[in-house]
């Protein structure tokens, strides 16, 4: 699980990075500067196409990102769950009950996430290129980025990750080795002034 979580967070940041990427064809997109006074919020719809059953699992929720608390990824339906990632800890909650808690002090993976986080915010693609090959192209609607893993460990998580976007990213698709496909659609992303979170 730890191994998978480490991978997960790496890709997770990748998606976030892509989320805040404005349209810039053929070149790796430049990222907006997130200051201490801002935070990014938005909604998502996730559709997971299963390889073994003719079923599509759909979940919905919202997310928030700022420099103080990191990212909150909140799934609202069909289950209620929340994932919090910051430079000091990784915590996940289900029905307000903590399911997972890893401190950066004992889990350096959390510190690594923070590193990638900084890399993303400062537009440092080198950190991510350690894990993935990147290919960027322009489409009639906007831009398309395809990422393929460099090593076997990363390939165990996904064969490929595709990003599509116009001004912001619109959709991320993950092709998993099991044959499952996860598509995340983003909606109403906006930059707003930072407000301290009330919980935790």
């Amino acid at each position: 699980m730890r191994l998978l979580n480490a991978r997960f967070t790496a890709i997770y940041w990748l998606i976030l990075m892509a989320l805040f990427t404005p349209l810039l064809a053929t070149e790796l997109p430049k990222l907006p500067v997130l200051t201490e006074n801002d935070q990014l919020i938005g909604n998502f719809i996730q559709k997971k196409k299963l390889a073994t059953f003719p079923i599509e699992l759909t979940s919905k929720g919202h997310f928030k990102l700022n420099l103080h608390e990191g990212v909150h990824w909140v799934t609202e339906s069909p289950i209620a769950s929340e994932l919090r990632l910051s430079t000091t800890a990784l915590q996940s909650y289900s029905n307000d009950r903590q399911v997972l808690n890893m401190a950066a002090r004992t889990q350096p993976m959390v510190a690594m996430v923070a590193e990638i986080f900084t890399a993303v915010l400062s537009g440092d693609w080198n950190a991510l290129e350690a894990f993935f090959h990147t290919e960027t192209s322009t489409t009639s609607q906007g831009w398309h980025v395809e990422m393929t893993p460099r090593d076997k460990a990363a390939a165990r998580i996904a064969h490929a990750i595709h990003f599509d976007g116009e001004q912001f990213v619109k959709q991320v698709t993950l092709y998993e080795p099991s044959g499952d496909q996860t598509r995340i659609l983003f909606e109403s992303i906006q930059l707003e002034p930072y407000r301290a979170s009330s919980r935790h």
């Binding site: 699980m1 997960f8 073994t52 699992l57 769950s81």
Partner: protein, 796 residues
């Protein structure tokens, strides 16, 4: 010369020739035998266990130690640390890549075996996912905390990416039990994976692991040179950057030992050889004299090795090494002969005059050394035979060959060095024994003898460790952070069947888990953690049934999945539960490669296994483990440090006792010859030994086996000294011989006191202190000029 005398001389010369040829034939025959023995191979024993008396010789403990040693000897763990993550990572990768190209490196891993995931191992563990249910999930079920398991599974299902939950799991293993089982395997705090590498971090530093499996013998100098050389090179490349290198593995210590030995051979060894050669050449001014002094030692070692191998089949390396040094005493015989020859016109006459002293000296020494043969310790028995036969052969070489080899007229010349040595002899001596002197002497002896009762034994094996403290501390640190089990102590479990064995282990596991919670130990490893007993596996499957009954329907409904999946999941559970994991299937599978050493096999109808412990060295922990094992007839707690220290102590006690008995016997024999004058012969060596013991006791904090071995040498040389001096009425040639023999022994063995290898240092210290004191006291025992020493002429 009269014709009759000439005839007689020719006749005796003839005789001497026969004897010399005969002795030569014996030596040739024995070297032939030795050659055959050596050709057959496997005649030197190096196992420490071979030194235990037979009753204490436990083959299962031996097997356990072999398994642990094999594991430790082929592994090399390197942690590369730096405050900057990227710096540590870069250096670790660079080192790993360099090591990978070496011929003596089998493989370089970036992960410890336990964490290496592969498709085969995943398939294997996935097949037995329910039987191998891990302890923490099992606890969640028994403590009615199944909601948590469901929530975790749901979250994994809906996580956007990378939770490892694929749709194939939905009916096969909806609660991702297989994944949980794998998670439970790594319990190293601070350890994570960064890419393919294992990474460890604390407050200040990040460490990356390079895990090397060595191809070849870690004691092989080539192997050491290649691997340690590469690491040293990497280290020197970072001297100016704050990079920390931590290493653990037998090869590091072996290389350090070899380096130390090489350094000491090139300093102490060469120094003592040069010293002895220079001494001989300056004294006798003849190269042949140097060869002659070495000849008895060489032939003594040859005969001793051949006979020991005939008698014992295998000679222990330690017996060989110390036996050979004791044979070094025989340099005395050659020196006394050569010194006596220098003032004698005839070689045969020289031998005739020297023979009584030579025989008596040999007899007492052989007696002293062979006394150890009666002890129950195989090592001492071998040493006894080795040194006794060696001394005998060395003496015979002098008797049989020297008169012929020194027939030339030029051997009769008193070298100027003799006069110098005689001049340097202290002028003071014990004149006449007045009642006052007697009282003082007796009082002194009592004081010295009494103080011997305050000597302490110091047998802690850890004090004899060759490696420097920093290396040992690194080893402990690496083993601690990576939770590698130590080899110092372990538990043995015994049962009639495998199932029983695993059940016994599970009983101990419950107690060990408590000890772990109480921080007595960091962790432990046992077979049953990899293959639970059939009983336990059945219980685990029952727990899964319990989990399904409570949570399965809720899981599907919350995920908005069709409830038909529920029936499918149950039938897959029923299919999986039919076949549990058997011990032998696990043992044969490649997944057990890293853990097979825990299995010790069968002996006399019993099955045995090993439980390893991590961070179990604290005295409180040792006591707790001892207490725990004592509760069960089938469990044994083995502490190698204690066992080895106890062994050393027993050897020391036996050695001391038998040395005392041997000295007493030697005194009895000498009384037959010297009557009341015997005190003049034995006092120097006894006082020398006592003074040495007292000094060592205060310097080293106690006496150990190797001090006693040194004293054995002191007694041998010291008694010879007394006998020869007494018989020759303290003539200047004899004094020169005694001084030369002391100096050569001090150069050969006393210099070892400078060694950093503890065993050699202790041995050398005893020789240095004992022999020099003996030599200083000896001139005191001279008679006044004109006073005839009393002695029985029992040899004519």
């Amino acid at each position: 010369m009269l014709p009759a005398a000439t005839e007689k001389a020719t006749e005796s010369r003839q005789w001497q020739k026969y004897i010399a040829v005969l002795w030569g034939l014996v030596l040739v025959a024995l070297s032939g035998l030795l050659g055959i023995k050596l050709y057959a191979g496997n005649t030197i024993d190096t196992s420490l266990m071979a030194l235990f008396p037979n009753q204490q010789h436990n083959p299962i403990i031996q097997r356990a130690e072999q398994n642990l040693a094999a594991r430790y000897s082929q592994r090399l763990l390197i942690l590369v640390g730096s405050p900057k993550d990227s710096v540590a990572r870069r250096h670790a990768i660079a080192l790993g890549e360099t090591l990978q190209t070496l011929t003596h490196v089998d493989q370089v891993n970036w992960q410890l075996g336990d964490f290496a995931e592969s498709a085969t191992s995943n398939a294997f563990f996935s097949r037995y996912r329910f039987h191998l249910l891990n302890a923490s999930t099992a606890q969640e079920i028994t403590q009615a905390n199944t909601g948590l398991i469901r929530d975790r599974a749901l979250q994994a299902l809906f996580n956007p990416v990378g939770s490892g939950y694929s749709s194939a799991l939905l009916t096969r293993d909806p609660f991702a039990i297989a994944q949980q089982n794998l998670t439970g395997k790594s319990h190293i705090p601070g350890l994570t994976f960064d890419g393919k590498m294992v990474k460890l971090a604390n407050h200040q530093k990040t460490y990356y692991l390079v895990f090397v499996t060595i191809e070849g013998d870690p004691y092989d100098l080539d192997v050491q040179h290649q691997i340690i050389g590469a690491i040293d090179q990497a280290k020197t490349s970072t001297t100016n950057t704050p990079v920390e290198w931590l290493t653990a593995g037998l090869i590091v210590h072996a290389a350090q030992g070899a380096r130390q030995a090489q350094w000491e051979i090139s300093t102490i060894g060469v120094g003592s050889l040069l010293g002895i050669a220079l001494l001989m050449l300056l004294t006798f001014r003849r190269v042949t004299a140097l060869w002659l002094t070495l000849l008895p030692i060489a032939s003594g070692c040859l005969v001793a090795t051949a006979i020991s191998m005939l008698v014992f089949h295998k000679v222990h390396l330690i017996a060989f090494a110390f036996g050979a040094t004791i044979i070094g005493v025989s340099i005395d015989y050659a020196l006394h002969y050569l010194c006596a020859r220098s003032s004698q016109p005839c070689a045969a006459e020289t031998l005739k005059r020297l023979l009584p002293s030579l025989l008596l000296g040999m007899m007492t020494s052989i007696l002293a050394y062979s006394a150890q043969a009666i002890t129950p310790f195989p090592g001492l028995k071998q040493m006894a035979l080795f040194s006794a036969t060696g001394l005998l052969a060395a003496g015979l070489t002098v008797i049989c060959w020297f008169p012929l080899l020194t027939g030339g007229k030029h051997w009769q010349s008193s070298p100027p060095a003799f006069i110098l040595i005689a001049r340097l002899r202290p002028r003071w001596r014990l004149v006449r024994i007045t009642p006052v002197a007697k009282t003082w002497l007796l009082l002194g002896c009592f004081a010295l003898g009494g103080s011997l009762f305050f000597l302490r034994g110091q047998d802690d094996i850890r004090l004899l460790q060759t490696s420097p403290k920093t290396l040992i501390e690194q080893d402990i640190k690496v083993q601690h952070v990576l939770r590698q089990s130590g080899t110092g102590s372990f538990l043995l479990v015994k049962a009639d069947t495998i199932e029983r064995l695993l059940q016994h282990e599970e009983t101990l596991s419950r107690e060990l888990s408590i000890l772990r919670q109480q921080n007595f130990i960091s962790t432990y490893d046992a077979l049953s953690r990899h293959v639970p007993s059939a009983k336990k596996q059945k219980e685990n499957v029952q727990l899964i049934h319990q989990l399904y009954a409570l949570e399965l329907d809720r899981f599907y409904s919350q995920a908005q999945l069709p409830d038909t999946l529920s029936d499918q999941a149950l039938s897959e559970l029923q299919a999986a539960e039919k076949q549990h994991l058997t011990f032998y299937e696990w043992l044969k599978s490649p997944v057990s490669a890293d853990d097979r050493y825990l299995w010790l096999g069968q002996l006399d109808g019993h099955r045995y296994s090993l439980i390893t412990l991590t961070d179990a060295d604290a005295p409180a922990t040792q006591a707790a483990l001892k207490q725990m094992a004592a509760k069960y007839a089938w469990a044994t707690f083995v502490n190698r440090v204690d066992t080895l220290s106890e062994l050393l102590g027993n050897y020391r006690k036996h050695m001391t006792l038998w040395v005392l008995i041997a000295v007493a016997l030697a005194i009895v024999i000498m009384i037959l010859r010297y009557q009341s004058a015997v005190w003049r012969i034995i006092t120097p060596s006894l006082m020398g030994s006592s003074v040495a013991l007292l000094l060592i006791n205060s310097i080293a904090g106690g006496i150990n086996l190797f001090h006693m071995m040194g004293l054995l040498l002191v007694l041998g040389v010291g008694l010879d000294m007394g006998i020869f001096l007494h018989d020759a009425s303290h003539r200047k040639e004899t004094w020169a011989a005694v001084t030369l023999s002391t100096l050569t022994s001090l150069l050969a063995f006393g210099l070892l006191a400078l060694s950093k290898t503890p065993v050699l240092h202790h041995f050398g210290l005893a020789v240095l202190l004992g022999l020099s004191t003996t030599w200083l006291i000896t001139p005191l025992m001279r008679y006044e000029a004109g006073m005839k020493p009393p002695q029985k002429e029992f040899m004519k």
